[in-house]
């Protein structure tokens, strides 16, 4: 093909397919971009606010161009001791999440596999614990925790979070585990594995995507939990959401510090989701059975 032919063919194809379509800008894509923009804008705005000096934040006209400052972050960690709060949240959430999975996976397995009279009722009862509005039990728990000396402690918070999230985790894991082909376990049984070996070496690896999904859900619930943390913590084990709310003071809102705290709060969630999503994308029982 000579140069001229090439050029002319490009020109004709250009005419046949308008530039907008060729560069991938079609109406559905524009609409999608609009929706994504609408959802991401608040996030963008918070990140922006966290980097603004106080004068820019309070200006009546929203500004997009300014000289960014780390002042809000510095204040967050120096004046408000945010590192300790962050550590509280991380410890409470990770330990609770771990306990929930350690209890939830075997419980889900038992409900999915064992023939127990009334197993459906038991499963429904477990889920119904999730229906309970936390506000209904917040005060009783406060009194109970006071008597047990669990107020404002890691153990107290972990117990509460495990209690609130375990039913959901059991329910979710029961669904995932019910989808694991029984033949796989039977094959392992005939291969000489004990029940515990079957669970650890066959069932858990196969159901890893389910465990990852459950972990993400419980992590997000706990990480963002506000009400119980507000009721049951004060200083020693106070968590990030409670601290953030404190930036809304009676006569002023500390927008800069608040935004910086929110930005930092989002980071662990993003990290967890990115680490675990690889497992979710992978097919559940790829290649196990025909």
């Amino acid at each position: 093909m000579t140069g001229w032919h090439a050029v002319s063919s490009v020109l004709t194809s250009e005419r046949a397919f308008p530039r907008v379509a060729r560069s991938g800008l079609s109406w559905p894509k524009l609409a999608a971009a609009f929706v994504v923009g609408l959802w991401l804008f608040p996030v963008y705005w918070i990140v922006l606010t966290s980097l603004k000096p106080i004068k820019e934040i309070n200006s009546a006209v929203p500004s997009f161009i300014f000289s960014p400052t780390a002042e809000n972050y510095r204040e967050l960690f120096t004046k408000f001791d945010f590192a300790r709060v962050l550590m509280n949240s991380l410890v409470i959430t990770f330990v609770s999440c771990f306990v929930v999975l350690v209890l939830g996976v075997p419980a889900g397995y038992a409900l999915a596999r064992m023939k127990v009279p009334g197993e459906k009722q038991i499963a429904l009862w477990i889920l119904s614990l999730r229906f309970l509005p936390p506000i209904a039990v917040a005060i009783p728990f406060y009194i109970l925790w006071q008597d047990l000396n669990l107020l404002d402690t890691y153990v107290g918070m972990i117990l509460i979070y495990v209690a609130f999230n375990l039913p959901f985790a059991i329910w979710m894991m029961r669904g995932f585990l019910a989808d694991v082909p029984v033949a796989l376990e039977e094959a392992a049984l005939l291969d000489g594995l004990t029940r515990l070996q079957i669970i650890l070496r066959v069932v858990v690896p196969v159901v890893m995507p389910g465990i990852a999904s459950t972990a993400i859900f419980t992590f997000v619930f706990m990480w963002n939990e506000y009400l119980m943390a507000l009721m049951l913590t004060a200083f020693k084990s106070v968590t990030v959401p409670v601290t953030i709310a404190k930036f809304v003071e009676p006569y002023t809102v500390l927008w800069g510090t608040l935004s910086a705290a929110v930005v930092i709060q989002v980071v662990p969630m993003l990290v967890v989701v990115f680490l675990l999503q690889r497992h979710i994308v992978r097919g559940l029982t790829l290649g196990a059975v025909k």
Partner: protein
């Protein structure tokens, strides 16, 4: 190892009797097939041998030892599942080696046995792949390998070929037979495919509705079916069942198609002494089982032949299946199925042609009409009671 099932029964809590008191002895090194339609209890029987189901009654002996209450882990039986049930998160190597690893076999020996089995099944190059990366046929080989590597007491196979396409199934069938000839491990094989059963087995046990109806070599099952069900289940095309009555013609057994005046002359054959007694008084209505290859299709009238019409010709390559219809006055088959003859494709027959059919005196069976049990079988040139 030998296997003995003693009055083994499985009744589900719902009251459904899946297996109804089976007695069976399988020799050491035998390839034994449980054959039957779906829901006949063959898989349940297999699972009871594996220990995956507990018998409601009866005993299971492996190598003479009572294994009825032994945990499946300790039976040392290997099973190939219909779905293969490969561990999806492990490589082929991991799948094959798991049992040996659990048993505490040394790494070096595992690797050696792994290489042997892989060579035997031609999966050496796949050892580091995961099941998800394999084709159906390759997965099937791995499933087989996982059983082979163990050198178990007994192999159990639950329709292992049913997920393969036809060509691959036939090839694997041949390989399976070769493998068994070499290894001679006692094998219990479950299938609903009669061709598989005939090709592979030393002996076949035909099951229906939880009962073991007949046990015998493939030839015995084909030649001497115990009842109408077995006769119909084995052989393609299926056996033809004709409504007939019989008559004692000076010591010879004459068979007459219901509705036809002449007896079928060609099969006027001598009978053993007790046969007439078994068949009942003259004129008793019976069912005659005729294999499709025992029907000769003639193009010209013949004294001993019954007139019929060719309804359809199904070319099968070296043979043609000919679907036939009798004239108006002769009743058709006992089960309402068309009459089918298998003839070599060198005979040319056309649809709609008139034909005369004549029965060859081979593999004919007379069944009781109500109990459907076989009463007499044509063995060689002579009718014998069953």
């Amino acid at each position: 190892m030998t296997l003995r099932l003693q009055n083994v029964q499985k009744v589900y809590p719902s009251g459904f009797i899946a297996v109804n008191g089976i007695n069976l002895d399988v020799e050491h090194g035998e390839f034994f097939t449980l054959l039957g339609p779906s829901g006949c209890g063959k898989t349940t029987t297999l699972r009871m041998i594996a220990g995956l189901e507990t018998p409601s009654a009866g005993k299971i002996f492996i190598g003479g030892r009572d294994f009825t209450d032994t945990h499946p882990r300790k039976r040392d039986v290997a099973m190939v599942f219909q779905s293969y049930a490969l561990y999806p998160h492990m490589t082929v190597r991991g799948n094959l080696g798991l049992n040996l690893e659990i048993k505490g076999v040394s790494r070096a020996e595992i690797e050696e046995r792994l290489q042997n089995v892989a060579r035997m099944l031609d999966i050496t190059l796949l050892l580091d792949n995961k099941p998800g990366e394999l084709s159906g046929g390759q997965r099937q080989r791995v499933a087989l390998g996982r059983a082979l590597i163990r050198r178990p007491n007994i192999f159990l196979m639950d329709e292992p070929l049913s997920n393969l396409d036809l060509k691959l199934r036939e090839r694997t069938r041949t390989e399976l037979k070769k493998l068994h000839e070499t290894l001679r491990v006692t094998t219990i094989y479950v299938t609903h495919d009669q061709a598989e059963a005939l090709v592979l087995s030393n002996r076949i046990g035909v099951m229906n509705a939880g009962n073991l109806i007949q046990v015998g070599t493939p030839q015995e099952i084909y030649d001497r079916p115990r009842n109408v069900f077995v006769a119909k289940f084995i052989g393609t095309p299926s056996v033809n069942l004709l409504n007939v009555s019989v008559q004692n013609l000076a010591g010879l057994l004459a068979i007459r198609l219901t509705g036809s005046e002449k007896p079928l002359g060609s099969i006027l054959l001598p009978v053993a002494d007790d046969v007439f007694h078994r068949l009942g008084p003259a004129g008793t209505q019976l069912i005659l089982g005729v294999r499709p290859e025992a029907i000769a299709v003639l193009t010209e009238a013949h004294a001993e032949a019954v007139p019929a019409e060719i309804e359809l010709v199904e070319p099968m390559g070296y043979v043609n299946n000919i679907v036939l219809r009798f004239g108006k006055d002769v009743q058709t088959t006992a089960d309402g199925e068309p009459l089918i003859a298998v003839v070599t494709s060198s005979e040319s027959h056309e649809r709609g042609e008139k034909a005369w059919i004549r029965l060859r005196p081979e593999r004919l069976v007379l069944f009781d009409r109500t109990s459907e049990r076989a009463l007499a079988i044509l063995a060689g040139e002579r009718w014998e009671g069953v």
